[in-house]
Symmetry: C2
Subunit: 551 residues, 2 copies
């Protein structure tokens, strides 16, 4: 313990060079990486000078994207050039025939993932950095989400400083929170500055309150006030979705003046398909499409080109409703106003697309009791805990079904064929019911199902239940008669299936409607309740009838 | 039968007036509607003149949106004004306190639907026409989809001629096909002319071939050729999504010239956030953002402002991939090129949003064996037939499970408690497995799951299966022991649940991966196969162990 690198500063370099050499020769790239992480860039530079070219390249692979430029700045120009050349050669000739990165990146996500995993495996982390350099931040986010936690942290270090913000924006909530929590504050604030206000607001909402507070404090006053006003709206409203980068104009100016003003700005925010016309008190007056500006004569007045019948979005409108409007009216952007009609900001289609994706993930994953922001590679313990809840809920319903069966133990003992056939009755009911349920849940989500037409739908679904009930009752009865040679059992199962399919149709309509009326999301709990009903009705009808008739 | 309206032309009006009067006084608005449908507008006008004001208004309600203006043109100006006034009064004072349409339309879909249904009920169809007049075509489409077939046809007639095309575009495939099939060809062609090319292509693809052919023939040659080239790409590719309304520029012109050219055009197509730069041979060179045009000085050359690194979309790219790119890169529009690099058209975000919605509907409805284009109010017989297939598939799996149970009939006869508990084992496996399955299906859809990380995921899911298996095995065992007072059965069910949860985790990962490898959509068939496996394994493990130990 007498010569650990940190403690003895007199003759550290030699020892550390030896340590590093040994680690690199033994392919212990992770240990080398940890060692380098504790050192000052200048020290790393002096270490590098003492290594062989191959070791130098291997060591360089272990530097994260933020440290590397600092280390390079301490090296001589000649060594820097040499190193860049060596690194290049090292990357275009991978050791064991893995796919080479020859400038042009393969566009298949599968190949990219393979490349990242190979690079991790061989400790050639710079290959990942180079791949990332050519990829869109959203794709990088996708790759990060495809990795388990430890690998993800290593790869995350390879994202260049200025792009971390953009990658963060594209990550799912849970992954984002976890990666942000591991970043040091300075780095996080730097990333935060690179985000659009609406994305930054999302990030702050995902972080612990104290961290969010610190990020806010690091912003300048104007930006902070803006962020705070955006933070005051719930995440799932127009206010939570909006950005504040809109271009505002007054109605009394001419197109020529406007164009001069726009040229002075030099740049317009992305997705600017409309400018917003406001009055002296900053109240929303109408929209001015950029198309109109492009095609209008310079002497035209803005008031002649603007459209005053474009409905603005109230800041407290739910984001689902916003998404539906964008989708139905094919909008790219829309103004957001407060209760007094003042223009607050604008919502753009890219954020709406995210809302739509989240809705769909919510509907799909919710059916299995999963959260749409779930990290596919969350730690086993955390995942187990979350899923256990859903299994527990299901266990209650399973025991309810078992209890119903238990009521007829005596009957089952006499006619064991009933035990063999009873899952069929329950299962057919569950399938038929979930078809109806799914249709109704979608109808509720799209607003096509209201109090006016539920009766019609109920009748229609009961009709379908009747037809399919009759059909499959006959089929199952025939099969049961062939199997057990017992006509009575055939008759009993036929009646039970018909009853259960009718009940499934009714439950499929009624259960989600009741749930949404009392404020429970039917997409989440609907199918559990439904299958409980179809199980219980199925077992009860089948075993009950059998008890009446056979005993 | 001697004086039917069509046959006797000498003294028809008096009789028909009487017929109409009687129908209206008896509130038989549907019959009145059918009668009016057979008449020439001039005849209807002469009939109207002979009615009392209230009857006149009632009769007018029954005219469809295309006939009404023709009828009105035959009336005297005075009567026309009077009628407009009466109709207005009639609509603002609904008979039985239903929600009045006081100019400002209620924005709740629920209220709108109620209004339509009330209007249908009272035969005041013009109220629907007035409501539709203020609604976005997409909303009208939504309302149409909320109605059963007969009501839908009546309401459809109330859509004004010029808007039918836009409403058609927003309808789901099945509903669209049905409504279009009922329209007369002339009307359909008129509507087709109002559609954007990409939407028209969609419509033609949904119609019978002969009808599509007739629509194409009615277009002028240039339009027809354009449509035919678009029809040559499959619906689910970039070529099938694209439109041909892009603005093309050459790189050697100056911004000033470009602006003059744009002003000459007077109008730009919607969603024009980019112009496309092409060369002499119509090959794609790059994009020019309209933002850049707005902020650039007139003397700047297009070649200085254009971006050449914007990757165009190949026409044969799958629409899923296009949607993913739009989403990840926050695009509003993108150029589409053919194999030779020639610019064919462009894809805009509104069509991409439709793709995303369809994907999500497909994933959600597919799980229940439903088609995403399904009409919620399709006729009972048609719906029954489609759903029967899914029930039939499920029946096979249910019989497989029953067969496994049947193998252990002897055991069940000895220990009837097993029959009571066995559904619990199967059900827990099914729930746990579908959680894993759902995650994997999403991972495959987003491209986050590839051959590189499936092993990691499999291990993780097995870990979760082990933890939750142990937890719930203990819980269920304890409950079973309390219930039946039998420690052996408790032990058996614990082992069976643990085995089934491990098997569920493995199947949840492996089944969708195998399916997607052999080209079956796991979102459609995954859950059926999975629950078959968990049912069989669950019953087999539980009853098999019981047979070994208890007998």
């Amino acid at each position: 313990m007498k010569q650990t690198p940190q403690q003895n500063q007199s003759e550290p370099v030699a020892t550390e060079v030896d340590q590093l050499r040994e680690m690199l020769s033994r392919d212990q790239s992770k240990r080398a990486r940890r060692l380098l992480k504790t050192m000052h860039p200048a020290k790393i530079a002096s270490l590098l000078e003492r290594l062989t070219p191959q070791q130098r390249v291997d060591a360089l692979h272990q530097l994260d994207a933020r440290t590397e430029p600092k280390v390079l700045s301490y090296l001589s120009t000649a060594l820097r050039t040499q190193l860049a050349y060596d690194l290049d050669a090292d990357m275009t000739q991978p050791k064991n025939g893995a796919s080479p990165t020859d400038g042009r990146v393969d566009e298949e996500p599968e190949t990219q993932l393979r490349l990242v995993l190979d690079a991790l495996d061989q400790g050639k982390l710079k290959r990942i950095a180079r791949l990332f350099h050519t990829l869109h931040p959203a794709r990088i986010a996708g790759l990060l989400e495809s990795l388990p936690a430890t690998e993800r942290a290593r790869v995350w270090d390879m994202v260049e400083g200025e792009r971390t913000a953009k990658v963060l924006r594209h990550l799912h909530e849970e992954v984002r929170r976890r990666l942000a929590a591991e970043m040091d504050l300075e780095h996080l604030i730097e990333a935060a500055r690179g985000l659009e206000p609406d994305d930054l607001v999302d990030l702050i909402q995902d972080l612990p309150t104290a961290t969010g507070r610190q990020i806010l404090d690091a912003m300048d006053q104007r930006e902070r006030e803006r962020l705070q006003s955006m933070l005051s709206y719930p995440e799932n409203t127009a206010g939570g979705l909006m950005n504040m980068d809109q271009v505002e104009v007054r109605s009394n100016i001419k197109v020529g003046t406007l164009l001069r003003y726009l040229r002075l700005r030099e740049e317009l925010p992305p997705n600017t398909d409309k400018l917003f016309v406001i009055d002296r008190k900053h109240r929303y007056q109408g929209i001015l499409r950029t198309e109109r500006v492009l095609t209008a004569r310079p002497e035209t007045s803005v008031s002649d080109l603007m459209e005053t019948d474009f409905e603005p979005v109230p800041a407290d409108q739910k984001s689902d409703a916003v998404a539906q409007r964008f989708e139905q009216e094919d909008l790219n952007s829309a103004p957001v106003i407060d209760a007094e009609g003042r223009l607050l900001g604008r919502i753009t289609i890219d954020d709406v697309v995210d809302v739509i994706r989240e809705q769909s993930a919510h509907a799909l994953l919710g059916m299995a009791g999963l959260d749409e922001e779930t990290d596919m590679f969350a730690p086993v313990l955390a995942s187990s805990r979350r899923r256990a809840v859903w299994l527990g809920i299901n266990l209650i319903t399973a025991f309810l079904a078992a209890w119903v069966i238990g009521l007829f133990e005596g009957t089952l003992q006499h006619v064991v064929a009933l035990a063999v056939l009873m899952p069929i009755v329950a299962s057919m009911g569950g399938i038929a019911g979930s078809q109806t349920l799914t249709l109704v849940i979608r109808g509720l989500a799209t607003g096509q199902l209201g109090s006016g037409n539920t009766r019609i739908l109920l009748l229609k679904e009961m009709g379908i239940g009747l037809l399919n009930g009759l059909l499959w009752a006959l089929v199952v009865a025939a099969l049961a008669i062939v199997w057990f040679g017992n006509w009575t059992i055939g008759g009993i199962i036929a009646v039970a299936i018909l009853l259960n399919l009718l009940c499934a149709a009714a439950s499929g309509v009624v259960i989600p409607l009741l749930m949404s009326r009392i404020g429970i999301d039917p997409a989440l709990a609907g199918s559990v309740v439904l299958t409980t009903v179809t199980d219980i009705v199925g077992f009860f009808a089948f075993l009950g009838l059998a008890t009446l008739i056979l005993l």
